[in-house]
């Protein structure tokens, strides 16, 4: 018995020694003097005299804190810390843009230069002034090594006119106001941070804030949480009811997030499992928002080889896709059949381009016309292994194609592997399923170019579809985008019509963004144009 006790005490000692070797996991947070919390026996439930805190369970990972490099899901957090020159309003708003760091802007008559007049007296979190030089430095940095730096391809140089005036000189007319409102590669960052990164590539590793936004990063514990605190100097000012602190808990498990929300451990949660939404639909304490999103599912046909080089065969297969079932199985019904590769609501979406219906008779007839009566060929189809939706709906395509005599082999690959295979040209798979979204609110400049514009060396245009007519239409639309928006859109729509008619790809469905918001929290607004920025802390209001 004594030895047993010894063993236990040994374990304890060992634990103490081991822990002494380990460095402190978290820095002690900077907090006002302890609130006395001694009198009540129930400590956590009782609201202490602490700050007004908003607690959110997030699924979005933070791949980087670098606002220049950011091109992933950290866009859920960064727009609360960093600001762009302009913000693009949600579709249907009276004004297209809200001025943020720019107060006003103008375009030259030849459309080759954009002049932005900056907001005076704005300071970065580190105290540096936000001015024309800082804007130039940020855009130059993002052009040089930004994750989505390509969005500035048309900008020759950024010119500092005076302290608060900055001019973008273009090589070809492009909508710089739209590009400047991007959720990627358009943040204005303190020059001190840019210098810091130039000196040390790991500058951003621990979570820092060098922006102008309403919130600052207070602390960051990887895999656990990020804590944000009010930037008391924020140029927009503060009013009662806004949150002083935001604790973003990183919770990868969807059901755990849901339970945390229902159990009151958090005030808001990202991405509740679709199959559980009905619980919230019937609960008077919550409002469920189902909104169009930026994302859509497509498939490329490999048009390099027979029989998919035949437009009739591609059309036949497009008629043999069970769109309704795919939406029901792949997205629990939370989606709408696509009109070409532009997601619903995103510029330049237009429903006049038409869609394919699910019509096996038509499919069989088209196959016969193409000289493949009763099918008789086989197709190798790949999807991204980590994508649960694709995994769920891929077999539906196989079943349906089997009914018109086309045999499908399904392969699950990692995204990297899938892209590599698809880029291998003649050896590539026949069909590649893909989830795609534009880098900023312009599917004309992004989706229509990236996915189907023919280039010698393929990048994301993996159908190898070479249509000079389409390329010409896109070129015209792009050239017009900086001068005549309506004419540009008309050209884009023509191009999409061609995509639908010639079917170099299948356009399955546009997904929906779903938010479950407790009624106790005010100020939530969904903006399709910032699909990753789920919660704008500055707009949210605590329950009274």
């Amino acid at each position: 018995m004594k030895r047993f006790t010894l063993f236990v005490s040994l374990l304890v000692t060992l634990s103490v020694i081991l822990s002494a070797c380990a460095p402190a996991a978290t820095e002690a947070p900077v907090v006002e003097p302890d609130a006395p919390a001694t009198e009540a026996p129930a400590p956590v439930v009782e609201e202490p005299a602490g700050p007004v805190v908003l607690r959110i369970a997030y699924s979005s990972t933070i791949d980087t804190w670098d606002p220049i490099a950011s091109f992933s899901t950290e866009a859920a957090y960064l727009p609360n810390v960093y600001e762009t020159l302009l913000k693009i309003n949600k579709p249907g708003s009276a004004e297209r843009y809200t001025p943020v760091l720019a107060e006003s802007w103008s375009v030259s008559d030849d459309r080759l230069s954009y002049t932005f007049n900056l907001r005076p007296d704005v300071k970065f979190h580190d105290g540096e002034p936000m001015n024309a030089a800082a804007v130039k430095a940020s855009i130059d940095a993002v052009k040089d090594h930004g994750g989505a730096g390509f969005i500035w391809w048309s900008v020759d140089n950024v010119e500092v006119v005076d302290d608060l005036t900055v001019k973008f000189n273009l090589s070809t007319p492009q909508p710089i106001d739209l590009i400047a409102s991007s959720m990627y590669a358009a943040y204005i960052v303190s020059p001190k941070a840019l210098e810091g990164f130039a000196a040390d590539e790991n500058f951003w590793a621990d979570g820092k804030s060098y922006g102008t936004g309403p919130y600052m990063v207070e602390s960051y514990t990887p895999d656990v949480e990020a804590v944000f605190t009010q930037n008391t100097e924020y140029w927009g000012g503060w009013e009662a009811g806004q949150y002083e602190k935001v604790v973003a808990s990183l919770v990868p498990e969807a059901t755990t997030r849901q339970q945390m929300l229902e159990g009151g451990e958090v005030d808001l949660a990202e991405r509740i499992p679709n199959e559980n939404l009905s619980t919230f639909d019937n609960d008077p304490n919550y409002t469920v928002f189902r909104e169009p999103s930026f994302f859509n599912y497509i498939a490329y046909f490999n048009t390099l080889r027979a029989p998919l080089d035949d437009v009739k065969v591609r059309q036949a297969l497009s008629y043999a896709i069970p769109y309704e079932d795919i939406i029901n199985i792949g997205a629990s019904g939370l989606g709408t059949q696509s009109f070409g590769p532009v997601p619903a609501g995103v510029y330049p979406w237009d429903d006049s381009v038409g869609q394919y219906s699910y019509d096996l008779e038509k499919a069989r007839a088209l196959l016969t016309e193409a000289g493949h009566e009763g099918g008789g060929f086989s197709i190798r189809m790949t999807y991204t292994a980590s994508n649960a939706s694709e995994e769920a709906f891929a077999p539906l395509i196989k079943d349906s194609f089997a009914q018109i005599g086309v045999d499908v082999t399904i392969e699950a690959l990692s995204l990297g592997e899938q892209l590599k295979l698809a880029r291998s040209g003649a050896d590539a798979q026949d069909m590649t399923l893909m989830l795609y979204w534009p880098a900023y609110a312009d599917a004309g400049a992004d989706n229509l170019w990236s996915l189907f514009y023919y280039t010698e060396k393929p990048s994301w245009n993996l159908s190898y579809w070479n249509s000079p007519e389409y390329n010409a239409l896109w070129d015209e639309a792009s050239a017009l985008s900086g001068t005549d928006f309506e004419a540009s859109k008309a050209k884009y729509v023509e191009a999409v019509k061609l995509l639908v008619d010639e079917a170099p790809g299948v356009y399955f469905y546009d997904t929906m963004a779903v938010y479950v918001i407790p009624n106790a929290i005010g100020g939530f607004e969904y903006n399709l144009n910032y699909p990753f920025w789920h919660f704008d802390y500055y707009n949210l209001r605590a329950a009274q």
């Binding site: 634990s15 302890d34 790991n202 339970q259 590599k420």
Partner: protein, 341 residues
């Protein structure tokens, strides 16, 4: 002297084990087809020139054997490389998370010992009675119940329905504003105890109970069964009969005379399950969002973050080797017969 020689031999073998592990992990993580440079940049849509720059930076353009040699060279100097996903040194990532995992592990194993050993004794002492049957059912359920399933059941029962314990995490997020924990050892239970931060102590303890028990379920079953078998063997021996014949109280016979001799094999099992439970924390940490090594490893695996995977595998293997060594030494100390061999 014997002990010294023994330790030396074990340490030397351990080095070869670790080299083997590193070789296998390195090979596996590098044959998996993936674009490490794209992972590093956090996006599959990165520009070709950026991808090329990262490939050069990470040395991905070199032959695999050279990459391995560089990795091992750095490893000897205590450098496990930088994580692809977080860009921070892997060693720092691991040491930052180690206390959370160890706290959970020790708490779980403490619970397992505290529950498992008496269950085994109980079951042996009343062999064949309803108490024995119940203990045997408990241990079978404990051993066979998958941790992720048990974890979910615990959450549903004790958080959702009874609201007795928190759902997930290590500490309530409000505490950082009201009763911040001073991370002296980074073992929060110990830290809050040392600083007399009782509000936080209670909260930390509450957060430990469900994941701790989920982790303990398997060891409880194993320890109870092992201890039962060992006790039965010992209780059937002559000296126990003699003790009983002397009229010594049954409780004294059981705990003072029998348990003392039955504990040695149980100790081995406890030691080995510590190593096993280390892997068990992977499931438990994911279910309970426990910010430890398991959660980090699962995330690294999903992201194919090979420096992190390598680091964790090496740490796990070292842990296994170390725990086995400790168990052997403890046994030598508890059981003089082993020392004499």
């Amino acid at each position: 002297m014997r002990a010294f020689e023994f330790i030396l031999r074990r340490v030397l073998t351990a080095i070869f084990v670790l080299i083997g592990v590193s070789l296998i992990t390195f090979a596996i993580s590098h044959v998996v087809p993936t674009d490490t440079a794209a992972l590093y940049l956090g996006s599959t849509r990165a520009r070709p020139e950026d991808l090329e720059r990262i490939r050069l930076k990470l040395g991905l353009d070199r032959p695999l054997s050279v990459q391995y040699a560089i990795y091992m060279g750095d490893l000897i100097q205590g450098d496990l490389g930088d994580s692809i996903a977080t860009k921070r040194p892997v060693l720092q990532e691991l040491t930052d998370r180690l206390p959370a995992t160890l706290e959970l592990l020790f708490f779980g194993m403490f619970m397992a010992t505290l529950i498992g050993v008496p269950l085994g004794v109980l079951s042996a002492r009343w062999q064949g009675t309803w108490a024995d049957v119940i203990v045997r059912i408990i241990s079978i359920v404990g051993v066979s119940m998958p941790a992720f399933y048990l974890g979910l059941l615990m959450q549903i029962a004790f958080f959702r329905n009874l609201d007795l314990f928190p759902l997930s995490g290590r500490v309530d997020s409000n505490l950082r504003f009201t009763n911040p924990i001073d991370p002296i050892t980074s073992f929060f239970l110990l830290d809050t105890f040392l600083t007399s931060n009782w509000v936080a102590f209670k909260d930390v303890f509450h957060h430990l109970v469900l994941p701790g028990f989920t982790l303990a379920a398997y060891p409880i079953g194993l320890i109870a069964r092992m201890n039962r078998a060992a006790m039965l063997e010992v209780l059937g021996q002559d000296y126990i009969r003699t003790a009983r014949a002397y009229g010594i109280k049954e409780r004294v016979v059981t705990y003072m005379y029998a348990l003392k001799n039955a504990i040695s094999p149980t100790l081995t099992v406890i030691g080995l399950t510590v190593a096993y439970a280390l892997t068990g924390t992977f499931f438990v940490e994911v279910i309970f969002n426990w910010p430890g090594l398991g959660l980090f490893t699962v995330r690294s695996l999903l992201a194919l973050d090979y420096p992190a995977i390598m680091g964790m595998t090496l740490l796990g293997a070292s842990g296994y080797v170390l725990i086995n060594l400790i168990v052997d030494l403890l046994q030598m100390w508890v059981d003089p017969r082993i020392r004499l061999q």
